[in-house]
Symmetry: C2
DNA sequence: AGTCATTAATGACTTTTGGTCATATATAAT
DNA sequence: ATTATATATGACCAAAAGTCATTAATGACT
């Protein structure tokens, strides 16, 4: 019984994730989620308090997966700088391998999760904070090892860079329009942005190529979709 | 007659701007806009095609004002780096003097303007692009003068930094929650983020204090509101 | 197997809100 | 004064979030 419930929850999440990736959470309707998940609308509300909570749950699930991938990749390396770069590489890889999921979290990036009591919102925040802490630890280690600027405060830097990195891979619609107006393709933007992020944190200014290349690689695949 | 139409349009824009600043564009209802502007709902739709277009018009108007302020400030200085710093200072000043307008554009930052044919969307993009070009020119000049990194591509850098700077002053709700979880206040975040932005573009790493201070100053006032 | 209690599922219904349109009013032209 | 045009209105419609009385399924206990 518990098993079946778990599965039905997953089915609903799957349907929601797909719809969010396709049209954004604004255009995702609860009726369509119900239809795609082969349940009645009331059932969706049995599993998720409201649309906001459902979106938070989708967001939590994807970020959990992403964290897993990032953690595994980071664990392959020893130095702080390597780990930080690895977190970027892992994110790009995740984006390439799970386009739907990546599209969904970037769409959800614009969402306001107002209710901090909602367990799904809590779980989502827990996951995001987890990633921030992983990055912050990478910075701390890099600082000790002398490869990352020592005057940098790890946690707020991680909070900022997480956003910045995500933006490098997937600019906002506004930015996309600006890029179009100026005939700049997304790969190039990703490269420039990645470079800026790297420059701001790294101590040695050489070897900026890694991060840049990673993000560029993403775009060769991602642009087909758009 | 033309005069009266112009004024009514302004009244509607004022009402919308206020509501967006208060609750975000999602919670702004066209009924409330009509009520606050003392016109019938149909009249609002006479002046603005739809909600999206109204929001775009609000966004265009504020960005136009902001550009004005930025341009004036930049014109006071000679060197590229000074101009770039001035654009930041002007933005912070604008934010301090026009909290409602600043709140509104940061809320509107999350909006998707889908219809590129809409004249209000066009005007909005025109203004934003204008600002990007001003910043890019500052970078170009700074590169020539040797104060800004020469390997930096001005336009995409401006597109990225405009977003980054705005985020430094006003983090997303998600980031705000993370900051809260980690007991980091917004001033500190603004300082860290401003520093990162400065570091990524400036050639000489000294004198990072300017940009940092500017953003920090913002927060002393802004936090009262929140 | 049959009865009953509890849990899960349903979809018709309500409410909210973006958007429309037939009608009414004001303004300008003749 | 009359007509034509522009402006304004709010009742109405449709879409979508969210509710709830009713029904169906499940499992425990005789």
């Amino acid at each position: 019984m518990q098993r079946k419930k778990e599965e039905k929850r997953k089915t609903i999440l799957d349907a929601a994730e797909k719809l969010i990736a396709e049209d954004g959470f604004r255009d995702m309707t609860m009726d369509q989620v119900a239809k795609d998940a082969d349940v009645a609308k009331g059932t969706v509300y049995l599993y998720f308090k409201n649309k906001n909570s459902l979106c938070a749950a989708v967001n939590a699930r994807i970020n959990k997966e992403l964290n897993q991938v990032i953690k595994e990749k980071m664990d392959l390396y020893q130095t702080g700088l390597e780990k930080v770069v690895a977190s970027g590489t892992a994110t790009v890889e995740f984006c390439l391998k799970n386009m739907q999921k990546w599209k969904a979290i970037t769409e959800l990036y614009q969402m306001k999760f107002k209710d901090p009591e909602d367990p799904n919102v809590k779980e989502f925040l827990y996951e995001v904070n987890n990633m921030v802490q992983m990055m912050a630890n990478g910075y701390r280690q890099g600082i000790k090892e002398g490869t990352i600027r020592e005057d940098l405060d790890p946690v707020p830097t991680a909070i900022f860079n997480r956003m910045a990195f995500s933006n490098a891979i997937t600019p906002t619609t506004e930015q996309n329009m600006l890029l179009k107006m100026n005939n700049i393709n997304m790969q190039h933007y990703a490269g420039v942005a990645g470079e800026l992020i790297g420059r701001s944190t790294r101590k040695d200014l050489l070897n900026a190529e890694d991060m840049k290349k990673n993000i560029k690689k993403t775009y060769e695949n991602l642009e087909k979709d758009l």
